[in-house]
């Protein structure tokens, strides 16, 4: 349930207002209170992901350190906006972010450099989950971006990204709107499959235009995708693996596959704000979250890929989570740079 744009649509207008107009009002907790007790404020997406995060990371940390971790709901984009507007007196001590907002945070230098002296466990991370954030953030877990289909739909199972174009699926295909991490990954993948790249996105747009008649809806969030598949509004779509396993484990006739051209990846990461009042506790929290034990337990529960090299997955996660070698990494720094112009073009050419 990465980049859950919605955790609650109920909260959408409220969060929009608070994010846009009154960012300083979002955390009602007085700063004085936070500084005195051992309390840090972090962020989280709601849903199954949150329950596992609390069980394996937050609660054990609180018990071990006698501290309190307050988790704020919302979206990555709002948290980055909040961190930028309140850089001098951060309201969020540890930012929990997804692509593309985590890369925006790196570009805006919102996180301190996490050295092995401060956060010893960074030396146990796969370098890609540390160096790619320019050491100002660390990956927590990865979810893989591939294809989900309804096994009871009576049409052949997909094997390739290009199967989305097959007439058998016409009108019942879903891919994300170009606002979530998956939306950017799908567009870039389509460009690459048709001879383009992040720098040459034209073939991607051409492909999406051809795919458009087959699309039931360009969905807004991972929960919405799951619901559309569950209701039968769609029978195939580009989705994250763990969002699919969550549904198939609950008995829904759904399967996730790694397309022959490769899966892409969604990562959530932790970043410590400059000027936080509780720096040592923040470092301890990040170190705890990426420790072998916490990483392993957390990833096993949500069928996600661990970032700690020593973490070992058990079944069923072990056979479900693609190895790093099976994954294609797009250049998120380029995506973030091009995103505004891509979105404006997408508005006009694809969804309007």
């Amino acid at each position: 349930m990465k980049d859950d744009l919605t955790a609650g649509y109920a909260a959408s207008r409220r969060t929009f207002l608070s994010g846009a107009a009154g960012a300083t009002l979002t955390v009602a907790l007085p700063a004085r209170l936070r500084a005195q007790s051992g309390t840090i404020v972090s962020t989280i997406f709601g849903g199954a992901f949150e329950a596992a995060y609390r069980r394996h990371i937050v609660t054990p940390f609180e018990q071990a350190y006698g501290a309190e971790v307050i988790l704020q709901y919302g979206t990555s984009a709002e948290w980055v906006a909040n961190a930028m507007l309140n850089a001098d007196r951060p309201e969020i001590d540890v930012l929990f972010l997804a692509y593309p907002d985590s890369i925006r945070a790196v570009n805006e230098n919102l996180g301190i450099v996490l050295t092995p002296d401060d956060v010893p466990n960074v030396s146990e991370l796969h370098p890609v989950w540390y160096e790619d954030y320019k050491r100002t953030g660390v990956g927590l877990d990865y979810a893989s971006w591939g294809l989900t289909y309804r096994t009871d739909s009576g049409v052949p199972a997909p094997t390739s990204w290009l199967d989305l174009f097959k007439p058998e699926y016409a009108g019942r295909v879903i891919v994300p709107n170009l606002t979530t991490s998956g939306g950017f990954q799908t567009l870039v993948m389509m460009a690459k499959l048709h001879g383009g790249s992040e720098d040459d996105i034209e073939p991607g747009f051409e492909a999406m235009k051809r795919l458009k008649p087959s699309i039931r809806k360009f969905y807004l969030s991972n929960p919405e995708a799951g619901q559309m598949m569950e209701r039968g509004d769609a029978i195939i779509g580009a989705m994250y693996d763990n969002a699919t396993w969550y549904l198939s484990d609950a008995g829904k006739p759904m399967q996730w596959i790694i397309p022959s051209e490769g899966a892409l990846v969604g990562m959530v990461s932790l970043h410590i704000a400059h000027n936080t009042r509780n720096m040592e506790l923040c470092k301890a929290f990040v170190n705890f979250a990426i420790s072998k034990e916490a990483n392993e337990a957390f990833c096993n529960e949500i069928n996600a890929g661990p970032t700690n090299k020593h973490a070992v997955l058990s079944e069923p996660a072990a056979s479900r989570v693609p190895a790093l070698q099976e994954i294609i990494f797009p250049d998120w720094f380029k995506i973030v740079e091009y995103a505004p112009s891509w979105i404006e073009r997408w508005n006009r050419e694809i969804v309007s």
Binding site: G8, Y9, A10, S12, R13, F16, L17, G19, A20, A21, G22, T75, A77, E78, A81, M84, R104, R172, N177, L178, T179, I215, R216, K217, F218, Y219, L220, E224, Q227, R231, G232, D233, A339, P340, I343, E344, W346, N347, R348, I350, V351, S352
Partner: protein
Amino acid sequence: MRRSSSLARPMLLAPGGLLLLVLLLAPMMVLLSYSFAPGGSMRPDFSAGLTFENYISVLGDPFYLAVIGRTMLISLIVTAASLLLGWPLAYFLWRAPARWRTLLTLAVVAPLLISIPVRNYGWMVLLGDQGLINGLLVGASLVEQPLRLMYTNFATVIGLTHVLMPFVVLSVVAALERVPPELLSAAETLGASRLRAILEIALPLSLPGAIGGAALVFCVAVSAYVTPALMGPSGANYATTLIYQQFISTLNWPRGATIAVVLLIITAATLIGLLGFINKRFSRALRGS
């Protein structure tokens, strides 16, 4: 004594006024100022002075104008549908025997007790490709393929009308409460049909309530976010979803602020124009009768 009573009014106004000033007017001013900053950033930079570039790019772009136009059209349709469906319901409530009225009022208000996403999800169950309506239509062989009801502007209209109609019903009932029921009986005694009595007595006398309700429906429909996002077509096709996208995805706060200001001005103008028109017609109709 006189002095204290002259102070009483401002003191009564102070709490509400202060709240509006701090929570509504101040953020609105910030938003307004953003719309005059150079676009493309979430940190407005006023060092080069104010600029109209955002207004030129928004008002000169058929895409943005189409989104705003679509929002206005959908909101007007929702307002009309709420009036057409809500007025008869309100009349029925007003005429219902006293022992039924509490129950019926509760039934009308019930949707307001349920959060908007939940109500929208209810519609998805009905309107979905494998939903109840399509199930019946396909099952009865009336259509071969399920109708595309969800993720359309039609679905947005349905969802918003359901959510907002109670506002019309409640304000029309409140207006009708002040009409003596004997007026209708008198008209019928004097030879008017039931329908004529309703159209010429109950309807005009309830108009202030209907107008108030319609204004509420229109304003809330224009600023609705959840229903167009969940039930409407793909992408940022409604003013609110477009504004959200400008703030959250493209991080172009000045442009988002500009669209918000333009939307506010058009909404206010539409509302004032519409209310003025109806008011004039209404007062003339009353004088004439």
